[in-house]
Structure formats: structure tokens, C-alpha cells
């Protein structure tokens, strides 16, 4: 268990390092939902190359790293109806809120942005409530 915390901390610093690189070099906030979402809805057409390159790196690097580690597992529930419903909520929600865990959480809180802090309180609160309700109603997902 403690090993997981150490890996969490190391991985976290790497995530923050990536966000710092994207800010200081490219001058952008590293928010996964914004980078992808503006491609999907067309609002990020002028910066499409930068967005696509970011997403390509986000797929390729961990893909290779996971292969080198002998594979990885998301342990995602096999219930595709729940998965689709969850994906839809995450897609609509992050675009209404204009950010997710990386944009509001990592990039927002680190600059003491009120919006980032409020968003984080609401998504963690709703997430915790959902986990408790899901276990009570569905016996866990």
C-alpha cells in the first residue's frame, strides 16, 4: 500500500512536470478535457495541430511504457451501459465546467484559482456520493 503512495507521488510530480512544460514552453493550460473537447466541437480548429500532437503523445508514451511493464489494466467495469452513461456525463460535464481533474484540479488549484477550487470540491463531492450510491443501489460497479 505505501509503495502505491510513493508511486502516486512520483507519478504526480511527473504529471505536474508535464503541465509545467506545456505552460512555460507552449503557454497553454494542460487540461485534457479542453484539449480534446475543443477539437470535438470545432472551437479549437486553429490550434488543432498542437492539440492532436498532445493527444498523440498521451496515447503513445504510456502505451509503450505499459508494454515495457508487461501490460496494464484499467479494471473498468464490464457493464458497457454504465460505461457509456459515465462517459457521457464526463464529456458534457467537463465542457460545461470548462475543465476536469487536470485543468481545474492540477492547473487551477496550483494558481489558487477560485473556479478551479470550487470545481474540484463539486466533482470530488459528486464522485464520492456516486461511489457510495452505486454500491448501495447496484452492489458496486
Amino acid at each position: 500500500m505505501e509503495m502505491d503512495w510513493v508511486l502516486g507521488l512520483i507519478g504526480g510530480v511527473i504529471i505536474g512536470g508535464a503541465a509545467a512544460l506545456y505552460l512555460l514552453v507552449n503557454g497553454r493550460v494542460m487540461g485534457a478535457s479542453g484539449i480534446l473537447g475543443a477539437l470535438v466541437d470545432g472551437s479549437g480548429r486553429e490550434t488543432a495541430n498542437e492539440r492532436l500532437a498532445f493527444l498523440a503523445g498521451l496515447v503513445v508514451f504510456p502505451g509503450v511504457a505499459a508494454l515495457a511493464m508487461g501490460g496494464s489494466d484499467t479494471h473498468l467495469t464490464g457493464n458497457h451501459v454504465i460505461v457509456a452513461l459515465a462517459g457521457l456525463c464526463v464529456g458534457v460535464g467537463t465542457r460545461l465546467a470548462n475543465g476536469c481533474t487536470s485543468g481545474h484540479g492540477v492547473c487551477g488549484i496550483s494558481r489558487l484559482s477560485l473556479r478551479g477550487i470550487v470545481a474540484t470540491v463539486f466533482y470530488i463531492g459528486a464522485g464520492g456520493l456516486t461511489v457510495v450510491l452505486a454500491r448501495a443501489l447496484l452492489g458496486g460497479v
Partner: protein, 143 residues
């Protein structure tokens, strides 16, 4: 050049997500499960990520311009609207239901299997459909 560094940043971000365990939905759900067998890993990840970023914002303020030119992102108006509250709540519900948020969902594309693809497709559909909902919520809250 912008694309090269974007590719690198995305790559480093993805490796961090993998190492930290954030692509494992059990760790995320375990952290949100405060009344169950609570797993504190995500707090370490968040803390670890915020640290270098807090320094980066200070460096940005001191430098004035990004290395590749242009402007640093302006600090958004500190207004808390219904879109922020409703959106974050919806996002949190989907996050708790699946254990996936946008970054890890993309990062695990190569090993996430059919379920991962279902999540990505549904998330993209939600992102595509969001702008009109956003405008409607804005119109209602300013009416």
C-alpha cells in the same frame, strides 16, 4: 515546434498517469470511497502534481512570455456560474461511476479494451453536444 513540445508534454503526462496508478479505475474509486476501504493514493498524486505547477505559475509570472512566444493564459474571471457547478457535478458523477476522467481515458487507449473505447466514444459525444446546453444554462442564469 509547438507540436513537438505538445507531443512531449502529452507523453510525459500520460506516463505520469500510468505510474501514479490513475489509469487504474480501482484506485480512483478507492479514493472516492470515503466510507469504504479508503485508498489515499490520489491525494499524493494531486499534491505531487500541484507542487511543480505552483512553481511554474510563479516562473510564468516572472518571465512574462512563454518560450515559444505568445501570451500566458489570462487568469479567468473568478465568477462561479451554474455551468461550473452543474458541469463539475455531472463530471464527478461520471468519474465516480467509472473511475475514469478524460486524461486517463485517452492515455489507456492502447490497453483499455472495448470498455475504454465505449467510454471515449460516449465522452466525445457528450463534448460534441455540450455547447448548446452550455448556452442554455448561461441564458437561464442571466435571465
Amino acid at each position: 515546434m509547438r507540436a513537438v513540445y505538445a507531443f512531449l508534454a502529452g507523453g510525459v503526462f500520460g506516463v505520469g498517469l500510468l505510474i501514479s496508478g490513475m489509469t487504474d479505475t480501482r484506485k480512483v474509486i478507492g479514493w472516492l470511497d470515503v466510507f469504504g476501504d479508503w485508498d489515499p493514493t490520489l491525494a499524493f498524486v494531486m499534491g505531487g502534481a500541484i507542487l511543480p505547477m505552483a512553481i511554474a505559475w510563479r516562473v510564468a509570472a516572472a518571465r512574462g512570455t512563454p518560450l515559444l512566444g505568445g501570451d500566458f493564459p489570462a487568469r479567468p474571471e473568478p465568477t462561479i456560474g451554474w455551468n461550473l457547478v452543474i458541469g463539475s457535478t455531472l463530471f464527478g458523477a461520471g468519474w465516480g461511476l467509472s473511475g475514469l476522467c478524460p486524461g486517463p481515458a485517452v492515455a489507456s487507449l492502447t490497453w483499455g479494451g472495448a470498455g475504454g473505447l465505449v467510454f471515449l466514444a460516449a465522452m466525445a459525444a457528450g463534448m460534441y453536444g455540450a455547447p448548446p446546453i452550455r448556452s442554455r444554462i448561461d441564458a437561464m442564469s442571466t435571465a
